[in-house]
Amino acid sequence: MMNQLLLASPMAVVIIGAFVLMLISHSKRFNNDRFNIVAVAFLVLSLILQYVTYESQSSSFLFEKIFADSFIMDDFSAIFDVMFTVGAILTLLINTDYFKSRDYFTGEYFALILFSVFGMMMLSHAHELVTAFIALEIASLSMYTLVGYHKNNKVSSEAMMKYLILGAITGAFFMLGTALIYGAVGSTSLTQIAEYTITHKLHEMTLLIVGATFIMITIMFKIGAVPFHSWVVDVYHGAPYPITMFMASTFKIAVFAIALRLYLVNFAPVNSFWTEILQVMTILTLIGGSWLAINQSLVKRMLAGSSIVHSGYLLIGISSLGLGSEVAAPAVMFYLIAYFISAVGAFGILSFLSSQQQTQMKYEDFKGFATRRPYMALTMSIFMLSLAGFPSTIGFLGKFYIFTSAIESGQILLAGLGILTAFISVYYYFKLIAMMYFYPSKTPQKKLPIDISTILIFMMGLLIIWGGIGTTLIPVIPGPDGFIDMAKQAISSLR
């Protein structure tokens, strides 16, 4: 029992932290800085507990006597937990200045971040559909609130309404799908579903396939795949910068936690049913995302559009999965890690910079940035290069694995399209680098302090380079091999 409590402690600490923050949020003694510290402290504690309780290559159910097999603890969930916690910590620390400069941030904000982290962690551990739904809704509801956090701002409120209504409708599809699967299998437990799919033939499982397709709609909506993408750019635009950062990097990945688990194990035998649907969706996502990203003047909207393209790359990997590619699953996992690091960095710099000005960052605002802040500009260039998939960054290896998996599964045209959209993405990412380096600065250079935000951002930049070219010379920091080994281990723990 003690052991089980310890295993649950990382999640428990986060939810306790959320409640503590709720309780103290109206205290006069605390300001945003203190709330921030408290929130980060709980997250760091959770991270430490994750490290302490982590057992490699073990897979067990949490409180099996009470929850049956609702919660699973394995390498797969462990790596996602680390990403969620780190994502949240980075969001909080990098945006310290942002919280100071905007008076609409209050204590509840930090509680909501912790609630959503809790929801995501629960999602990555969920081994039962209703649990997964509840987890997804906990995370999503916190997100809806966070997106509309700037109440007096029209754009922010519009984004919130848009996201809430569309999100709630697609969330209902998940429930409907669960109900249909329950009708077919007689249980919502993933263990039972896996048994059912293995023992039945494809044409006997019509109800399950329909249900799983409904679940897929929810997932596609959350990752912004193209027929369900209409919210992405507006919501990313309307949300305050720190929230956009949190959504684009961390929340997006959370959805893949459940998607991979479902489609890699439980629905694996019926995966071939979706091949064509996924391929069409991938093509639409890649082209549509590029189209959205290429003609934006706000950097934030460009990154929002490009995040759709990145969903497209991940979908290439997922549709290769369905065709039985062996390297596809680790490739998707690796791409998630690579995208997480790059997106956290890129959005982090963006929100760090926008804390100093009230308007949205345009491309033009980056003119002469390299003269004003050379190191920051260098790091931003690294993030852009990584997102564009330029070699010697981790983003290149991510794309490399995804495309080879597509070639391996025989989807040569899809890989070709991926290459083409990667080429297009070079345009809009390099445009930002060009803005930073090619134009003289309008405002004079001033000495800016080195604080925790800048150090964290710079370290993310180094991690990207090391993840792209690193060797085994420094075993502590994972290089390209370290990351892919992690990805492989996580995937293998699923089976």
Binding site: L385, F390, P391, S392, L397, F400, Y401, F403, T404, I407, E408, I412, A415, G416, I419, L420, A422, F423, V426, Y427, F430, K431, I433, A434, Y437, F438, Y439, I469, T471, P480, D481, I484, D485, K488
Partner: protein, 492 residues
């Protein structure tokens, strides 16, 4: 020492750049550091060249596992082909740094050092992914240098060159990944090492589009006519050192890639493309020459001239006989030196007259005899003046062309005539006659002469005593050629 010498040659400039950057060195130490890195690299390359055995294939190789999960290896080595370009880049760096003596913008120096690492790495790597990494990395400094320090519409032109080059690289990446997959399919493990992949047999249809991926990358880099729209704008707006690197080294890397990877991986398939490429090269030869004749801007003129000569080199490559091959490789070296000289002179012209338009120059010969001498010498060596290396090389290629086909030989021979035409006409208008502007200017300074004399000497030695150099690479070209001829069964 000898095991790691190539690694040292590749990474020394980058290492210097990183150290100087971390220490936030001031401009004086930065210049000294850059020069030191170039000189040390040059010394190391001399060590390699001295210990190089012409009758032995790949030497000084180093093969270390790198990204094990993807089968990517850190696999480098040098043979005659890469030694020529390796020697060029390390020989040309010191004069360039002397030229940049008064350059006080720090980014300039860092970019040059990174650039040297990128190019050297691309020349020496024998693993396709490693090659791709360096091939792309060397683009970044060029992108920054044109965009930041260029003139004219430099932001636009820099974006243009990057996008066009990356389009080529992306198709190449696709081919690389597919080849890796084919290897995985046959051998059961991933590998991108050239020696493993050369043994692969692709089915003809696949092979044709796989080769297309590589050819597009190299055709854009060379550039063959039709893929050249980035060239003149980029050359005219890039700062002088960047132009020199682009025309003297990077364009040659396109040829090198064709030679190493094109002939290495797709020897039998290239016969499918040979007629197209020979035609493109011949058209380019004449088209670029005509453009050069009509061009008033010196930079653009020599951009086109360089395009014309690179077409000649590419042509020589596809004629597949030993004269043409020797000529091509020899021309890579001599043309690089001559181009460096002429673009340095154009840079000096710009410094003095603030213009590179032929119509606003003139009358230089009366006031600046030394300047005129060097300018005319380099220009004439580009045109293939007997006694300079270019003449020997062009002659070899033309002989090869006549051996291949009489009419192709005739067309190829026109390159010398057309080059004479635009060079002499340009010299007459730019250097002699009456001055068309009122600038006060000085003759060459001692520093500038020190920078130019080695280039002159190199051109003369290569022209007078080609027998000193050709034995270095002829045996290997002979072997490679035999292999190619065996694969295609006769001519391409």
């Amino acid at each position: 020492m000898m095991d790691h010498i190539l690694t040292n040659i590749i990474f020394l400039p980058l290492f210097f750049a990183v150290i100087l950057g971390v220490l936030r060195a001031n401009i004086f130490y930065l210049k000294a550091g850059a020069m030191a890195s170039a000189v040390v690299t040059l010394l190391l390359v001399i060590v390699v060249a001295v210990n190089f055995d012409p009758n032995n294939g790949m030497q000084f190789s180093q093969d270390i596992a790198w990204i094990q999960n993807a089968g990517v290896r850190y696999f480098i080595g040098v043979d005659a082909l890469s030694l020529v370009i390796l020697a060029l880049i390390s020989l040309l760096m010191p004069p360039l740094y002397i030229y940049m003596y008064h350059e006080n913008r720090k980014g300039y120096w860092y970019n040059m050092m990174v650039l040297q690492t990128g190019i050297t790495g691309a020349v020496l790597s024998l693993d396709l992914v490693l090659f791709y990494l360096f091939w792309e990395t060397m683009l970044l400094p060029i992108f920054i240098m044109i965009g930041k320090y260029g003139n004219g519409m430099h932001q636009y032109n820099s974006m243009k060159i990057v996008l066009m080059t990356i389009l080529g690289s992306m198709t190449m990446l696709f081919s690389i990944m597919y080849i890796g997959y084919v290897y995985f399919d046959t051998a059961g493990s991933w590998s991108f090492a050239l020696n493993n992949l050369m043994a692969l047999q692709f089915d003809p249809k696949t092979s044709i589009w796989l080769a297309a991926g590589f050819l597009l990358a190299f055709a854009i880099k060379i550039p063959l006519v039709g893929f050249h729209t980035w060239m003149a704008p980029a050359y005219s707006s890039a700062p002088t050192p960047a132009v020199i690197i682009m025309s003297a080294i990077m364009a040659k890397l396109g040829i090198y890639g064709l030679w190493r990877f094109g002939f290495g991986l797709f020897d039998s398939t290239l016969s499918y493309y040979a007629p197209t490429i020979i035609t493109l090269a011949l058209v380019g030869l004449l088209y670029y020459a005509v453009r050069a004749v009509t061009e008033d801007n010196l930079r653009k003129m020599f951009a086109y001239s360089s395009g014309s000569h690179l077409s000649l080199i590419a042509l020589g490559l596809f004629l597949t006989n030993i004269y043409a091959w020797t000529g091509s490789l020899y021309f890579i070296a001599t043309h690089a030196i001559a181009t460096t000289g002429i673009f340095l002179m154009i840079g000096l012209t710009y410094k003095r007259f603030k213009t590179v338009k032929i119509s606003s120059l003139g009358g230089i010969a009366q006031k600046a005899p030394k300047f005129t001498f060097f300018f005319a010498f380099f220009a004439l060596s580009i045109a293939g003046l007997p006694g300079t290396g270019g003449f020997v090389a062009e002659l070899l290629i033309i002989i090869g062309a006549f051996k291949y086909n009489f009419w192709i030989g005739v067309l190829t021979a026109t390159t010398m005539l057309s080059a004479m035409l635009y060079i002499f006409w340009m010299l007459q208008r730019a250097l002699f006659g009456t001055s068309n502007n009122s600038c006060e200017y000085e003759d060459l300074s001692l520093r500038e002469i020190i920078m130019l004399v080695p280039l002159v000497l190199m051109l003369l030695i290569t022209g007078i005593a080609p027998s000193l150099f050709i034995p270095w690479f002829e045996p290997q070209l002979e072997t490679m050629l035999q292999g190619v001829l065996l694969a295609v069964g006769g001519l391409l």
